[in-house]
Amino acid sequence: MKSLVVHHDSHVTAPASTIDPHQDSFSKAFLGFWIYLMSDCLIFACLFVTYALFQKSIFGGPSSKDLFELKTAFIETFLLLSSSVSCGFGVIAAGKNKRAQMFIWLFLTFLLGASFVGIELSEFLTFVHEGYSWQTSAFLSSFFALVGTHGAHVSFGLLWLFVMLGQLLFQGVSSDTFRRLVLFALFWHFLDLIWIFIFTFVYLIGVI
Protein backbone atom coordinates (compact mmCIF):
# COMPACT_ATOMS: atom_id res chain seq x y z
CA MET A 1 0.00 0.00 0.00
CA LYS A 2 1.35 3.26 -1.06
CA SER A 3 1.61 5.82 1.72
CA LEU A 4 0.85 9.35 0.80
CA VAL A 5 3.75 11.47 1.74
CA VAL A 6 3.28 15.18 1.34
CA HIS A 7 6.51 16.91 0.58
CA HIS A 8 6.82 20.48 1.75
CA ASP A 9 8.97 22.77 -0.29
CA SER A 10 11.49 23.75 2.33
CA HIS A 11 12.05 27.34 1.24
CA VAL A 12 8.31 28.12 1.16
CA THR A 13 7.43 27.44 4.81
CA ALA A 14 7.20 30.43 7.12
CA PRO A 15 9.76 30.67 9.91
CA ALA A 16 8.48 29.31 13.21
CA SER A 17 10.16 32.06 15.24
CA THR A 18 7.48 34.77 14.99
CA ILE A 19 4.39 33.03 16.31
CA ASP A 20 1.75 35.65 16.98
CA PRO A 21 1.19 35.62 20.75
CA HIS A 22 -2.05 37.56 20.37
CA GLN A 23 -4.37 34.68 19.55
CA ASP A 24 -6.25 34.50 22.82
CA SER A 25 -9.59 36.02 23.71
CA PHE A 26 -8.07 38.76 25.88
CA SER A 27 -5.68 40.01 23.21
CA LYS A 28 -8.40 40.08 20.61
CA ALA A 29 -10.77 42.01 22.86
CA PHE A 30 -7.92 44.38 23.75
CA LEU A 31 -7.04 45.04 20.12
CA GLY A 32 -10.67 45.45 19.11
CA PHE A 33 -11.30 47.98 21.85
CA TRP A 34 -8.05 49.74 20.99
CA ILE A 35 -9.18 50.13 17.37
CA TYR A 36 -12.44 51.61 18.65
CA LEU A 37 -10.41 54.11 20.72
CA MET A 38 -8.42 55.04 17.60
CA SER A 39 -11.66 55.79 15.77
CA ASP A 40 -12.79 57.86 18.76
CA CYS A 41 -9.54 59.84 18.44
CA LEU A 42 -10.55 60.71 14.89
CA ILE A 43 -13.96 61.92 16.05
CA PHE A 44 -12.26 64.19 18.56
CA ALA A 45 -9.79 65.32 15.90
CA CYS A 46 -12.69 66.49 13.72
CA LEU A 47 -14.23 68.32 16.67
CA PHE A 48 -10.85 69.93 17.41
CA VAL A 49 -10.42 71.12 13.84
CA THR A 50 -13.94 72.55 13.84
CA TYR A 51 -13.22 74.34 17.10
CA ALA A 52 -9.93 75.72 15.81
CA LEU A 53 -11.55 77.07 12.68
CA PHE A 54 -14.37 78.74 14.60
CA GLN A 55 -12.34 80.04 17.54
CA LYS A 56 -12.56 83.61 16.27
CA SER A 57 -16.18 83.40 15.06
CA ILE A 58 -17.69 85.07 18.10
CA PHE A 59 -20.58 86.87 16.32
CA GLY A 60 -20.49 89.80 18.71
CA GLY A 61 -20.63 87.51 21.73
CA PRO A 62 -17.88 86.63 24.19
CA SER A 63 -14.52 85.33 23.03
CA SER A 64 -12.43 82.60 24.63
CA LYS A 65 -10.45 85.25 26.48
CA ASP A 66 -13.64 86.62 28.04
CA LEU A 67 -15.02 83.29 29.17
CA PHE A 68 -12.34 80.82 30.24
CA GLU A 69 -10.77 80.70 33.66
CA LEU A 70 -7.39 78.99 33.99
CA LYS A 71 -8.00 78.11 37.62
CA THR A 72 -10.96 75.92 36.65
CA ALA A 73 -9.04 74.32 33.80
CA PHE A 74 -6.08 73.48 36.05
CA ILE A 75 -8.29 71.92 38.73
CA GLU A 76 -10.07 69.83 36.08
CA THR A 77 -6.74 68.73 34.62
CA PHE A 78 -5.39 67.71 38.02
CA LEU A 79 -8.57 65.78 38.85
CA LEU A 80 -8.59 63.83 35.60
CA LEU A 81 -4.86 63.09 35.71
CA SER A 82 -5.11 61.84 39.29
CA SER A 83 -8.10 59.67 38.42
CA SER A 84 -6.13 58.17 35.53
CA VAL A 85 -3.30 57.22 37.89
CA SER A 86 -5.62 55.83 40.57
CA CYS A 87 -7.35 53.78 37.86
CA GLY A 88 -3.97 52.32 36.88
CA PHE A 89 -3.23 51.48 40.50
CA GLY A 90 -6.63 49.80 40.75
CA VAL A 91 -5.88 47.56 37.77
CA ILE A 92 -2.50 46.58 39.23
CA ALA A 93 -4.14 45.73 42.56
CA ALA A 94 -6.78 43.66 40.74
CA GLY A 95 -4.05 41.78 38.89
CA LYS A 96 -2.42 40.92 42.20
CA ASN A 97 -5.84 39.96 43.63
CA LYS A 98 -5.61 42.57 46.39
CA ARG A 99 -9.33 43.26 46.59
CA ALA A 100 -9.38 45.92 49.28
CA GLN A 101 -6.70 48.02 47.59
CA MET A 102 -8.43 47.60 44.24
CA PHE A 103 -11.74 48.87 45.60
CA ILE A 104 -10.08 51.85 47.29
CA TRP A 105 -8.26 52.91 44.12
CA LEU A 106 -11.28 52.39 41.86
CA PHE A 107 -13.57 54.26 44.25
CA LEU A 108 -11.06 57.11 44.33
CA THR A 109 -11.08 57.06 40.52
CA PHE A 110 -14.84 57.43 40.58
CA LEU A 111 -14.74 60.32 43.07
CA LEU A 112 -12.11 62.21 41.09
CA GLY A 113 -13.91 61.60 37.79
CA ALA A 114 -17.25 62.65 39.24
CA SER A 115 -15.67 65.84 40.64
CA PHE A 116 -14.31 66.58 37.18
CA VAL A 117 -17.75 66.19 35.60
CA GLY A 118 -19.33 68.28 38.36
CA ILE A 119 -16.91 71.17 37.86
CA GLU A 120 -17.27 71.00 34.09
CA LEU A 121 -21.08 70.98 34.34
CA SER A 122 -21.06 73.98 36.68
CA GLU A 123 -18.81 75.81 34.22
CA PHE A 124 -21.23 75.07 31.38
CA LEU A 125 -24.22 76.12 33.48
CA THR A 126 -22.48 79.38 34.41
CA PHE A 127 -22.00 80.18 30.74
CA VAL A 128 -25.60 79.35 29.91
CA HIS A 129 -26.99 81.39 32.81
CA GLU A 130 -24.92 84.37 31.69
CA GLY A 131 -26.67 84.03 28.34
CA TYR A 132 -23.82 82.45 26.39
CA SER A 133 -25.04 79.07 25.15
CA TRP A 134 -24.19 76.93 22.12
CA GLN A 135 -26.70 79.00 20.16
CA THR A 136 -24.80 82.25 20.68
CA SER A 137 -22.01 81.87 18.13
CA ALA A 138 -20.05 79.37 16.06
CA PHE A 139 -17.21 79.62 18.60
CA LEU A 140 -19.51 78.61 21.45
CA SER A 141 -21.23 75.91 19.38
CA SER A 142 -17.90 74.26 18.62
CA PHE A 143 -16.70 74.72 22.22
CA PHE A 144 -19.74 72.98 23.69
CA ALA A 145 -19.55 70.26 21.02
CA LEU A 146 -15.89 69.48 21.70
CA VAL A 147 -15.71 69.81 25.48
CA GLY A 148 -19.25 68.51 25.90
CA THR A 149 -18.48 65.36 23.89
CA HIS A 150 -15.43 64.74 26.07
CA GLY A 151 -17.52 65.31 29.19
CA ALA A 152 -20.16 62.90 27.88
CA HIS A 153 -17.43 60.29 27.35
CA VAL A 154 -16.26 60.79 30.94
CA SER A 155 -19.83 60.49 32.22
CA PHE A 156 -20.41 57.22 30.39
CA GLY A 157 -17.03 56.08 31.70
CA LEU A 158 -18.26 56.77 35.22
CA LEU A 159 -21.35 54.67 34.52
CA TRP A 160 -19.09 51.85 33.28
CA LEU A 161 -16.91 52.19 36.39
CA PHE A 162 -20.00 52.03 38.59
CA VAL A 163 -21.07 48.80 36.87
CA MET A 164 -17.52 47.42 37.14
CA LEU A 165 -17.44 48.14 40.88
CA GLY A 166 -20.67 46.19 41.20
CA GLN A 167 -19.35 43.28 39.12
CA LEU A 168 -16.09 43.15 41.04
CA LEU A 169 -18.04 43.20 44.30
CA PHE A 170 -20.36 40.35 43.38
CA GLN A 171 -18.22 38.26 41.01
CA GLY A 172 -14.79 39.02 42.41
CA VAL A 173 -11.75 39.30 40.18
CA SER A 174 -12.33 36.61 37.55
CA SER A 175 -10.65 36.49 34.18
CA ASP A 176 -13.78 38.06 32.67
CA THR A 177 -14.08 40.93 35.15
CA PHE A 178 -10.33 41.58 34.98
CA ARG A 179 -10.47 41.78 31.20
CA ARG A 180 -13.36 44.27 31.43
CA LEU A 181 -11.49 46.29 34.04
CA VAL A 182 -8.44 46.52 31.79
CA LEU A 183 -10.60 47.71 28.89
CA PHE A 184 -12.17 50.31 31.17
CA ALA A 185 -8.70 51.47 32.18
CA LEU A 186 -7.79 51.85 28.50
CA PHE A 187 -10.89 54.01 28.00
CA TRP A 188 -10.16 56.12 31.07
CA HIS A 189 -6.49 56.73 30.14
CA PHE A 190 -7.58 57.65 26.62
CA LEU A 191 -9.95 60.31 28.03
CA ASP A 192 -7.10 61.91 29.96
CA LEU A 193 -5.03 61.86 26.77
CA ILE A 194 -7.76 63.78 24.92
CA TRP A 195 -8.06 66.22 27.82
CA ILE A 196 -4.39 67.17 27.42
CA PHE A 197 -5.26 68.60 24.02
CA ILE A 198 -8.45 70.22 25.28
CA PHE A 199 -6.78 72.14 28.07
CA THR A 200 -3.94 73.15 25.75
CA PHE A 201 -5.86 74.17 22.64
CA VAL A 202 -9.12 75.36 24.16
CA TYR A 203 -8.25 76.86 27.52
CA LEU A 204 -4.56 77.83 27.39
CA ILE A 205 -4.41 78.99 23.77
CA GLY A 206 -7.87 80.53 24.18
CA VAL A 207 -6.69 82.77 26.98
CA ILE A 208 -3.49 84.21 25.47
Binding site: D20, H22, F26, L42, I92, S175, I196, T200
Partner: protein, 116 residues
Protein backbone atom coordinates in the same frame (compact mmCIF):
# COMPACT_ATOMS: atom_id res chain seq x y z
CA UNK B 1 -10.18 26.07 20.62
CA UNK B 2 -9.36 29.55 21.68
CA UNK B 3 -7.06 29.99 24.62
CA UNK B 4 -8.66 31.88 27.50
CA UNK B 5 -5.84 33.37 29.53
CA UNK B 6 -5.78 33.52 33.29
CA UNK B 7 -5.42 36.76 35.20
CA UNK B 8 -1.68 36.50 35.63
CA UNK B 9 -1.14 36.22 31.86
CA UNK B 10 -3.46 39.14 31.20
CA UNK B 11 -1.75 41.26 33.84
CA UNK B 12 1.61 40.47 32.24
CA UNK B 13 0.40 41.50 28.81
CA UNK B 14 -0.97 44.71 30.22
CA UNK B 15 2.56 45.50 31.54
CA UNK B 16 1.42 47.84 34.27
CA UNK B 17 3.50 48.44 37.33
CA UNK B 18 3.37 51.08 40.06
CA UNK B 19 6.56 52.78 38.90
CA UNK B 20 5.32 53.64 35.42
CA UNK B 21 2.15 55.25 36.79
CA UNK B 22 3.97 57.27 39.45
CA UNK B 23 6.55 58.42 36.94
CA UNK B 24 3.84 59.23 34.40
CA UNK B 25 1.90 61.18 37.00
CA UNK B 26 4.92 63.23 38.08
CA UNK B 27 6.06 63.94 34.53
CA UNK B 28 2.54 64.83 33.33
CA UNK B 29 1.96 67.13 36.29
CA UNK B 30 5.28 68.85 35.67
CA UNK B 31 4.48 69.38 31.99
CA UNK B 32 1.02 70.69 32.90
CA UNK B 33 2.52 73.16 35.39
CA UNK B 34 5.00 74.27 32.72
CA UNK B 35 2.15 74.91 30.27
CA UNK B 36 0.09 76.90 32.74
CA UNK B 37 3.18 78.70 33.98
CA UNK B 38 4.17 79.71 30.46
CA UNK B 39 0.75 81.23 29.84
CA UNK B 40 0.57 83.02 33.17
CA UNK B 41 4.12 84.30 33.56
CA UNK B 42 5.76 84.54 30.15
CA UNK B 43 5.01 86.77 27.20
CA UNK B 44 7.19 85.92 24.22
CA UNK B 45 4.64 86.73 21.57
CA UNK B 46 1.58 84.75 20.62
CA UNK B 47 3.06 82.55 17.90
CA UNK B 48 6.06 81.38 19.92
CA UNK B 49 3.92 80.69 22.96
CA UNK B 50 1.51 78.57 20.92
CA UNK B 51 4.40 76.54 19.49
CA UNK B 52 5.77 75.85 22.98
CA UNK B 53 2.33 74.91 24.31
CA UNK B 54 1.78 72.46 21.45
CA UNK B 55 5.23 71.00 22.08
CA UNK B 56 4.49 70.52 25.77
CA UNK B 57 1.12 68.95 24.96
CA UNK B 58 2.71 66.47 22.53
CA UNK B 59 5.36 65.60 25.12
CA UNK B 60 2.71 64.93 27.73
CA UNK B 61 0.72 62.85 25.24
CA UNK B 62 3.83 60.72 24.61
CA UNK B 63 4.42 60.34 28.34
CA UNK B 64 0.85 59.20 28.90
CA UNK B 65 0.94 56.88 25.88
CA UNK B 66 4.06 55.22 27.28
CA UNK B 67 3.42 55.20 31.02
CA UNK B 68 -0.37 54.76 31.15
CA UNK B 69 -1.25 53.04 27.89
CA UNK B 70 2.03 51.11 27.40
CA UNK B 71 1.77 51.51 23.62
CA UNK B 72 5.49 51.06 22.97
CA UNK B 73 5.93 48.06 25.26
CA UNK B 74 3.82 45.70 23.21
CA UNK B 75 5.24 42.34 22.18
CA UNK B 76 5.77 41.66 18.50
CA UNK B 77 3.69 41.74 16.31
CA UNK B 78 2.78 45.20 17.44
CA UNK B 79 -0.80 45.49 16.21
CA UNK B 80 -1.82 48.30 18.58
CA UNK B 81 1.16 50.40 17.53
CA UNK B 82 0.24 49.75 13.91
CA UNK B 83 -3.35 50.86 14.52
CA UNK B 84 -2.09 53.92 16.38
CA UNK B 85 0.16 55.07 13.54
CA UNK B 86 -2.65 54.43 11.07
CA UNK B 87 -4.86 56.71 13.13
CA UNK B 88 -2.16 59.40 13.29
CA UNK B 89 -1.77 59.30 9.51
CA UNK B 90 -5.50 59.71 8.95
CA UNK B 91 -5.54 62.45 11.57
CA UNK B 92 -2.84 64.41 9.75
CA UNK B 93 -4.75 64.08 6.50
CA UNK B 94 -8.07 65.20 8.02
CA UNK B 95 -6.76 67.95 10.30
CA UNK B 96 -4.00 69.22 8.04
CA UNK B 97 -6.21 69.03 5.00
CA UNK B 98 -9.06 70.89 6.70
CA UNK B 99 -6.74 73.64 7.89
CA UNK B 100 -5.22 74.01 4.45
CA UNK B 101 -8.56 74.13 2.69
CA UNK B 102 -10.21 76.53 5.13
CA UNK B 103 -7.23 78.85 5.22
CA UNK B 104 -7.15 78.89 1.46
CA UNK B 105 -10.87 79.69 1.33
CA UNK B 106 -10.35 82.36 3.95
CA UNK B 107 -7.81 84.19 1.85
CA UNK B 108 -10.06 84.01 -1.19
CA UNK B 109 -13.10 85.68 0.42
CA UNK B 110 -12.59 89.38 1.08
CA UNK B 111 -13.54 88.90 4.73
CA UNK B 112 -11.46 91.86 5.93
CA UNK B 113 -13.76 94.17 4.02
CA UNK B 114 -16.93 92.90 5.72
CA UNK B 115 -17.84 94.84 8.81
CA UNK B 116 -19.59 93.13 11.72
Amino acid sequence: MEHKPNIREMAEEWCGNYKSYVFGFAFSLMLTLCSFGLVLFWNPGKERLIVYLIGLALMQALVQLTCFLHVFQEQKPRWKLFAFFGMVLILFIIAGGSFWIMNDLNTRTMHEMIHD
